[in-house]
Every structure is written in structure tokens, then in C-alpha cells.
Symmetry: C2
């Protein structure tokens, strides 16, 4: 038996043991993990430094080196993150939709853990701890396959988490690090349809496409966030300018940042010059369509590739559109089902937007940056799904569970 399969089999056994645990037992283990991280901050930082040195020597860029860093400040933030997960309610065991059937049966649904979850991710070693904590809280075992740049850090984190689990009386196989060898190892993990219940890839598009292509297990995936805002003819300029600015620059490198602004032609003359001033001040590069350029002659002309691009930087594509239908067509063609916001004072157009746009989060007069598990009240999130199956949008603890039917009877038979 391969070592990946062996790890998955141990995870399956551990999953059965932790699935029925009460919240209090799981929370104690999570607190032990947080303590363990704090108690070993020096060793973690030293180990991470070795990963960083190797990565720097191999020519990894500054942005990736920053993601790879797990120094004392990051360890403390990660431990706090685990404690925050302790504060969240446990979805397992909750009941819903209980109904009394005509024959007297009481039928409803009860949440249960998914079982074994495979996380496949890249540089950030804090994901190792975050994902372990979210999976444990929701009663799942997890196989963590991080990036090879973070291998030594991840192995240490895995060992520390395992020790905390053992000390809390939980099976340490509930959290396992899959060695980051080559992509063959990921393929094998993704082939274990009898042992892995869900794979969650997190990282660049290349990794996610690789996972989607090779998975024989269910995958919840998030491709790009090509997020739009549409400024309708009736958009209130007092709202429009701050909304565009916040959506674009509050954190330009993330998936719910604005990438393309659509402006109703009747509002363009009034809004675009105001926006130009604000965007210039925030050092945003505007790439506009021809109609935009007539109003903003200093803007750069957009190429076809700028529409549908995920810049993840202070760049904004701008297109003047004829009307709401034109905006909806643009989004149907270039959007990525992630986050789409309208700025309007029209009731009818707000309702059409909400009903007709197919995206994991559809907003009215609100920043695109609100499509986030924390912001929407889910507590922590393990990812954002842009495919509709199982979860659509931010995935919190509940997305790591399913519902089974439970039926209470007193001897009923079917007639």
C-alpha cells in the first residue's frame, strides 16, 4: 500500500472517532493546539527560517516569501485564529426541517461531518493550522498537502498539532501532513474516492485546474474573482465613488477586489471625472473603453484582454455600457461567478440585478469586499466556492458538514 493511501486510511479511522465528539471536547483540543503553537514559537520561527532561506536561495519572489513567513507575529495571529474558531458554534448535530408526516413519523435533517477532507494548497503555512482547526471543529479528519516551499514548517506544525490532539485524548491521525513530493502525490490523494470525501484546493489557477482535472473525489473549487460593479443611471455619486474606491483599493490583491467597472452611459459624464480624481489619488491605473477615453482622455485604452482579467493590483478596467441589459451581458461573458455589485437608486434595477446575476454573492449599494465569510457572519472561512455544487460563496464550518435524514417512528410501515 502506498504511504498516501495508508495515511488516508488512518484518517478515515480517526474521522469515525471524532465525528460523534461533543463541542466541548473538540474545543479543548483546539485550545491545546493554540497553546502548543505559542509554547513552541521559537522552534516554529527557526524552522520556518530554514524554509525561507531555501526559498530565497531558489529565487522565490518577495511576495511569495512574505506568504511563506511564519515568525512570532504570524504564530500569535494563527493561535488567535484557532481561539476564534473555538468561539464559533459547532454545526454538527443541529437539526432542521423537522416535519410531522401524516402517518405520525417525525422526519428531519441532522448535520454530520463530511468525513475526510483533503486540503491542497500552496505557500502559506498558516493555512495548515487554520484548515486543521476548521476541520476538527466540524468533526472532520483532514489530510494537509501544502506547498513544498513550506514543507519543513508544515511538518513541524503537523507534529505539534498531533501532540496537542494526543494530549487532549483525540486521535492524532485526525490531522496529517501529506509530504509535498511531486504532483503525482496530489494525483494519488485525489484518486482515493473510497477514503476522501472532499478535496479543497486553495492557490493559483494552475493548482486548482490541476486538482479539478485529476480528482476522482468531489472538489469544491474557486477559480478567479473577476468582480464587477455596475454604476446605474440612477447611481448616487455620494455612494458610487466610495464604493468603487473601497472595492478596488481596500485590498487589491484579493479575490473579492473590484476588477472591472461598468458605467451606464447616462451616468458616465457625471460620474467618471469624479471617479478619475479619486482613483488617481489612490494610484489606480484606469484602462477604459473608447467611450471612457472620451471622458477621461488621460486614461489608458483598454485592450480586449483587460476585460475578464483578474489584475489583483491597482488596475481597473472601465467600460461604458448602454443599460442594465448591456451590463448583464458583459458580466455573463466576462464574469467568474464570484462577486457582482450594482450601485443604483432604482428599485426595479436592484431587484433585476439580485435575481438575474449568477454569482456566489450579488450586492446592491455595497462594496465587493463584503463577499467574505467573516464579513457575512459565517465566522471563519475555509475558501470561497464559485461552483454551485454543495457550496456557493464563502465556506464556513457548515460547508464542512452535510445533512442526513433522521426519522423517529413508533412502528410505522409503508402502505
Amino acid at each position: 500500500m502506498s504511504s498516501v493511501r495508508k495515511q488516508a486510511e488512518l484518517a478515515r479511522l480517526a474521522a469515525r472517532k471524532i465525528a460523534p465528539l461533543r463541542r466541548a471536547v473538540k474545543d479543548v483540543a483546539l485550545l491545546a493546539i493554540a497553546s502548543k503553537l505559542r509554547a513552541n514559537v521559537a522552534e516554529i520561527a527557526q524552522t520556518n527560517q530554514r524554509d525561507l532561506d531555501k526559498a530565497r536561495a531558489s529565487g522565490l519572489g518577495e511576495a511569495l516569501l512574505q506568504r511563506l513567513t511564519l515568525g512570532p507575529a504570524e504564530v500569535e495571529a494563527t493561535a488567535k485564529g484557532v481561539e476564534y474558531i473555538v468561539s464559533l458554534p459547532d454545526p454538527v448535530g443541529s437539526r432542521s426541517e423537522a416535519r410531522r408526516l401524516d402517518n405520525g413519523l417525525l422526519a428531519g435533517k441532522q448535520r454530520l461531518p463530511l468525513g475526510v477532507i483533503a486540503m491542497i494548497y500552496e505557500a502559506r503555512p498558516n493555512v495548515t493550522v487554520d484548515a486543521a482547526a476548521l476541520c476538527l471543529k466540524s468533526g472532520n479528519a483532514v489530510l494537509l498537502r501544502g506547498g513544498k516551499e513550506a514543507e519543513e514548517t508544515n511538518q513541524l506544525l503537523g507534529r505539534l498539532i498531533g501532540e496537542a490532539l494526543t494530549a487532549s485524548g483525540l486521535p492524532n491521525d485526525a490531522v496529517q501532513i501529506i509530504p509535498a513530493t511531486d504532483r503525482e502525490g496530489i494525483k494519488e490523494l485525489l484518486s482515493l474516492s473510497d477514503l476522501v470525501d472532499l478535496a479543497i484546493p486553495r492557490g493559483g489557477e494552475g493548482l486548482i485546474r490541476f486538482v479539478a482535472e485529476h480528482a476522482r473525489v468531489p472538489v469544491v473549487k474557486h477559480y478567479q474573482g473577476i468582480c464587477h460593479m455596475f454604476l446605474d443611471a440612477s447611481a448616487d455619486p455620494e455612494k458610487a465613488v466610495p464604493l468603487v474606491l473601497n472595492s478596488k483599493v481596500q485590498r487589491p490583491g484579493v479575490c473579492n477586489a473590484l476588477e472591472c467597472l461598468l458605467v451606464h452611459e447616462d451616468a458616465a459624464t457625471a460620474l467618471l471625472p469624479k471617479l478619475w480624481t479619486a482613483l488617481k489619488e489612490a494610484e489606480v491605473e484606469v484602462r477604459g473603453c473608447e467611450k471612457t477615453l472620451k471622458l477621461l482622455p488621460l486614461a489608458r485604452i483598454a485592450t480586449e484582454a483587460d476585460f475578464g482579467a483578474e489584475f489583483l493590483a491597482k488596475i481597473l478596467a472601465v467600460r461604458v455600457v448602454r443599460d442594465l441589459d448591456d451590463a448583464l451581458l458583459h458580466i455573463g461573458r466576462y464574469g467568474s461567478n464570484h462577486t457582482e455589485s450594482i450601485c443604483t437608486e432604482s428599485y426595479a434595477n436592484a431587484e433585476r440585478w439580485v435575481n438575474e446575476v449568477d454569482a456566489s454573492c450579488v450586492l446592491v449599494n455595497a462594496s465587493t469586499r463584503f463577499n467574505d465569510g467573516g464579513q457575512l457572519g459565517l465566522g471563519a472561512e475555509i475558501g470561497i466556492s464559485t461552483s454551485k455544487l454543495h457550496a456557493y460563496g464563502p465556506m464556513g464550518l457548515e460547508s464542512l458538514t452535510a445533512e442526513k435524514w433522521v426519522v423517529y417512528g413508533s412502528g410505522q410501515v409503508r402502505v
Copy 2:
């Protein structure tokens, strides 16, 4: 472009058109389908007869021929089924979990159709109509790939449904028959991850495994129904005997029929002889473990293969177990996460059963036959999922939809 891809692209366009339709518009189209079927009953029956003749000539067995039959009685039942779907509520557009966030945003979830669904099934041509009606009602387009034995019947049904859609002002590409050529065609359909949102296989285990193996699109699948009932030490004989009998013989050939009975050793002496009499009367063959044979010397001895077998016939495997834990171990090893029932008067054991058994439907003192969309109050069902992702258990209209986040603001930005 291949013809399958072309069909899927047309389905995608049709899906966009029908997704925002109101219930009334969809119901009118469904009623038109029912009328169309009734108006063309003679042609349907004749066409089906040709499929039947071919199938009989090629040596298809009686059971399969019966499934393939779509005569006047079956057409009427199918039309009635469509009318029943008209009576069900439309899940699309419904809101849930609306919450007011601290910043004044109102955030909630709204149901939307999945998009394009691929149904891959075997002999029964009534599935063509049932699936089309369920998908349309929930605002989805559907690609129907039935068995080649039913090809001529399915093509006719597809044409009639298309005519009813056109007459109702809906795009007839919303329901399309994929020609039943060879399994390469299924593979291609399953590879269209940009166009197909969900594949639902219905049929024998071979077909379902083939779909799971080749799918690059999400699949909701149902393998076998290896359903157990556990008669606890405290089981009430007045309930136990009718429950076992109903679970086994009310319809032995279906997935929620009982296949294996587990009996607590303290209850075996009292219960097994009573059960033997009832089962013999119902012509059920008992295949028992050694302990069972001591109490029922006329029963056949069970082989290892009888445990975990889906007989789909009047055969029942019986094992005497030490206690509840022993029963849970047996189910963990041989069960298929489908339907598991306990017969007990013990509160503690009932709760342990409900909480610890991992199956799409877990019952207490009720027949396994209740794991059914109609019985559980879902209205119609399009299948029963034994995998936890997206749906677990009977899939009604709601399982053909997802939820997106909708957020109403008044200019909120993220701080």
C-alpha cells in the same frame, strides 16, 4: 465542434433564459407537456412497441422489457406525474438566513437553478419525462442520455416535450435528448466542465461507476442500497415483526428494501422464531449466521458474500450480534450509507443510533421503505444520493438548486 458539445452549448443558452422565469410560466409549460403526452399516446405506444420488439429480438430479459414499456397506462401515469410536479412549490427565488449585519447590511441567501443538468440513465423511458419536468420546474436545462434500448421512444418524447415548450414560449433547447450511441458519447458529455453543472447517473452499479470514473463535472451518485435493520434487546416484538416484513417485502427490488437483519443476542430467542414464521409466509429466503441457524435450523447458512449483498429479491441475510456496538461495527463495514433502521424501546440506544450511524437516512422504529422523496415530504425525487456532497438522501426539487448570497446595502464600504 462535436454534436454533444453543440447540444450542451444550446442547453447553456436555454438555461440562462429559463432561470429567471416565474413559477406560473414554468407550470404552464409543464401542463402543456402533460397534454402533449396524452394527445400523442398512440404514437408513443407504437414507437415504444418498436423499441420493445427490437429489445426482445436482441434477447433482453422480461424484467428489463417491463421497465422499457411505455404503453397507454404508463403514458397516463407519466402525464399525471408531470401534473403532480406542477402542484409542488418552486424552490427558485426563495430566501433564507437573512441577517442584519452590524454595519446595516442585510445579507441572506437566495435559491437559484444549478444551470445545465446531465441525466444519464438506463432502460425506463418515463425517466425522460420525469427528469425533464423536475429540471424545468427548478429552472434548469437538461441533457437526457437514456439507454439505447429506449432510443426511439426517448427521441419521440424529446420531440413532444420540445413542441410543448415552444408552444409555451420557452426555448425548446431546455430539454434535449443526447443520442444513445456508445459510452464515448457519455464520456464526452461528462467532460464538458464549462457547460454542464451536474451529472446525475441513474441505473445499475456499472453505469454509476463508469460515470464517477470519467466525470470532470460534479456528480451526485447513488451506489447500492445495502439497508440494515437492528432489532435491539428491548425491541417490541409487536413492532419488530411488521417492520422487518414491510422493509423486506413491500417492494423487494428497490434500493431502500431491507437486505440484512441484525438481531441482539438477548432478543434472538424471542424474536427469530416469530420472524421465521412471518418471513416463510411471505416466501422470503433467510440466510443466517451460525447463531441464527441454532434458532432457525431450517434457514440456509449465510456465506461471507451474503453480508453486504444487495439482493433486490426476497432474500434476507440475518446475523445475531452481541450488542449495539457490534451492530454499528457491522454497518460500518457492510453498509452503503443508504438507509439504516433500529427497532428499540431504549431511549439511549435510539439516540446513539441516530447520532452515530452515517447513512443518508437513519430511522428509529420505522420501515426502511420510508427513505423516499415522496414519503419524506419532498414531493417527487430525481434520485437518492449516498454521497454527502451537495445532497445526501432523496433529492427533490431543492437539490436541483443552489443558494447564492444576496446583500442589500446603502453605500457600505469595508473598513
